[in-house]
Symmetry: C2
Subunit: 111 residues, 2 copies
DNA sequence: GTGTCGTTTAGCCATTCGATTAACTGATAG
DNA sequence: CTATCAGTTAATCGAATGGCTAAACGACAC
């Protein structure tokens, strides 16, 4: 199995974190503002430990920060890893579009 | 809303497909131009069946089209699902930035 | 025919994922 | 002290992932 040393942002972990509807839904909810664990759990028909697990995944991906506050745990978005995912997609898109450009050139030279 | 002929893009599957370094590397290679299975396998220290499996994952995510051609199988990128992933991230970013804007307003109103 | 090339399929194994219920912790309220 | 609230941890389960080797397949070359 592939060895991975610690990078500031691990794209494997970030994309894997995004690959679950509940986790994406949690992020969308958090984009609207901070929330507690049970607030995040409410819209979903899974157990609280399941949500807790999803939050752990998001936290490990660096997408989330959880700070105990009064009796609740306050969950906040962290933007950086998302930007890294974004960055990869953009880089990929640039490669891909470059290729399309070259193909177009080739076609235009041909007729 | 009008029905689209496009297949629904399953973000779970797309993000999961992106969550592996070999698969991302394959996509990057393909962005530079079509390739055969063994060409795609060459840079990686895993068996050919492993690569074949990764290609299946990419294909199921709709990111890849494989067409048997002469004796080799030609692998091509398909752009649509990547755009969907991109779209989700953008939507998320908009939510996130909106929230930042509101926070900024709130801070400016305060002191 | 036999051989070989490029690729897929078939088993197999270890690990991880996603979910559950039950039990636990830590802080607060009565 | 006891009860409750918010959340985590533990134990367990079935299913999926990711890798391997070995065998099979389909098209061509000899």
């Amino acid at each position: 199995m592939a060895k991975r040393h610690r990078l500031p942002v691990d794209l494997d972990v970030v994309f894997a974190a995004l690959a679950h509807p509940i986790r994406r839904s949690i992020l969308e909810r958090l984009a609207a503002g901070d929330a507690s664990v049970s607030e995040l759990a409410k819209p979903h028909r899974v157990s609280l430990p399941a949500i807790s697990g999803h939050l752990k995944v998001l936290e490990k991906a660096g997408l989330l920060k959880v700070t105990p506050e009064w009796r609740v745990h306050r969950c906040q978005i962290v933007a950086a890893p998302m930007s890294a995912a974004f960055g990869w997609l953009i880089r990929y898109r640039i490669l891909w579009e470059d290729r399309l450009d070259r193909l177009t050139e080739a076609v235009e030279e041909k007729p």
